[in-house]
Chain length 293, copies 2
């Protein structure tokens, strides 16, 4: 059972892309106080004085993205924040970067392309140390968008929303494996991705499908307990009770039929137990979800 | 038990918007032979020589839409086709239009705005005659997009995809009531509308949620048996086994949590029984789904 915590986020953390104007950033500040970044600082082992490393590897504009996260955390008085723009497997094996990771309490994987994360980190010393720290320390791994998608053992990296239930359209490969038995999709409601998750679950119901909306996430403790955080919704697809599918019978590119998947909708404060597959709805929210103005 | 048949379609019938160029229309001709319009002519009581009335009331460009359907049916050698552009409740009570409906074997409601359909037809002599013919004759009602959405007792007429699971966002009102205990959404996969259907089902699980993809439909016989037709996918949301939701506890505009909805994915040739809520997958499709070239 991992001693670390995992926070996966569906993109647009705290409603901010952080590439918006200073005025926009001011406008979104209220989210920060109750939002996901705030929660990350609360869950971090030394709270605000924890050592954070922002890993911008997934992004095609890593400098800009890194700067924005540094600024965003600074708004929450979190100042011990570094940016690790690891661009190659060589850099993911370099002693300097390994030392930085050793000293970190929290890592935050930014958005971008999850295939960059897996192809650059997979099997490197950096990856192994991440797994080790997550297993044995009160270490927090967080990831948004691509950073969230890559955190499970099986990772969706491509597939159109419209064609997702045509056999072979959804492309899956190995992820970074911080959590097992889930498959994660992001920007979920916003990009109409239900088909990708239904397909992924039908192809192997051992994986719980997790569809994270934007500015919405899950805090996962002990590799099992999931708590909804942020302002939006999470859709879970549980294939445990799936009856039949013709996924093996139909040709590539043909529509796939599926009988009996279970769907749950979670929001702030709800809990889900990955082992028992039970949802506990928080009926009278202690802290109301932040609202758009 | 109705003697008539109902065909509901998720939009873009036979992949054609019919407003495309003649070259495009030629390209899509192959779909016609195995597609939904063809199936409509097969199900019509007198097949190709049945009397068809295209009802363009939902559309803001009724003349153009009507012309395109006349042309499309002409490609299938269906020539006894009229266009009924009823624009007011007065016209929906006029003896001339009632007579036209009396003589019709098939009506086809085009796309547009489903609120136009219900606000213009609801409770008129035309509406009553439709219900009567559907109940007592081998009469075929078909509708695409708005025309499909309006065919059930409860009708979704508005609601953003992204915000669909915020309480009150999905707007529902009475439909034309050709079928009971379902609630229909269209352009389903293409527009990422799963949230609308989950919300509608959670608010009253008596209704089976039916999400129709484009160029995809259901043939419904005896008000109960549903057969998937067309080239795409249908998503069904069954709330019969829903456990808990906080829909009554949360404020308007807040995210809604839902436990345990059942989802099925249907495609060409699959059957669903509305009463027993059982899906029968057609494992070895007799007629393969039409493919894009």
């Amino acid at each position: 059972m991992p001693k670390g915590k995992l926070i996966i986020i569906g993109g647009s953390v705290d409603r901010g892309s952080f590439s918006e104007s200073p005025a926009d950033l001011q406008r979104t500040l209220k989210f920060f106080e109750k939002g996901i970044l705030k929660r990350i600082t609360i869950e971090a082992v030394k709270n605000k004085i924890s050592r954070f490393e922002i890993i911008t590897t997934a992004s095609s504009i890593p400098e800009e993205v890194g700067d924005e996260y540094v600024k965003a955390f600074a708004h929450l008085d979190v100042l011990n924040v570094g940016v690790l723009n690891i661009k190659t497997r060589e850099e993911a094996n370099s002693p300097e970067n390994i030392l930085r990771l050793k000293n970190a309490d929290v890592v935050m994987f930014t958005g971008g392309d999850q295939l960059r994360l897996t192809s650059i980190f997979g099997g490197t010393a950096f990856h192994n140390l991440l797994l080790d720290k997550y297993e044995n320390e009160d270490f927090l791994i967080s990831g948004t968008s691509a950073g969230a998608a890559a955190s499970s053992n099986n990772m969706i990296y491509q597939g159109s929303s419209g064609g997702a239930l045509l056999k072979g359209e959804v492309k899956i490969t190995g992820g970074l494996g911080f959590i097992n038995n889930v498959i994660i999709d992001t920007h979920f409601v916003q990009r109409g991705r239900i088909g990708r998750l239904l397909y992924a679950c039908a192809s192997n119901p051992v994986n719980l499908g997790v569809g994270l909306g934007e500015d919405t996430g899950l805090l996962i403790t002990q590799g099992n307990g999931m708590e909804a955080i942020g302002s939006g919704l999470i859709i879970l697809v549980d294939g445990t009770n799936m009856r039949r599918t013709n996924i093996t019978e139909v040709e590539m590119g043909e529509p796939v039929s599926i009988e009996n998947l279970t769907v749950h909708v979670m929001s702030l404060g709800d809990h889900f137990d990955l082992k028992t597959k039970k949802l506990s709805i928080d009926f009278y929210k202690v802290a109301p979800a932040p609202k758009a103005e």
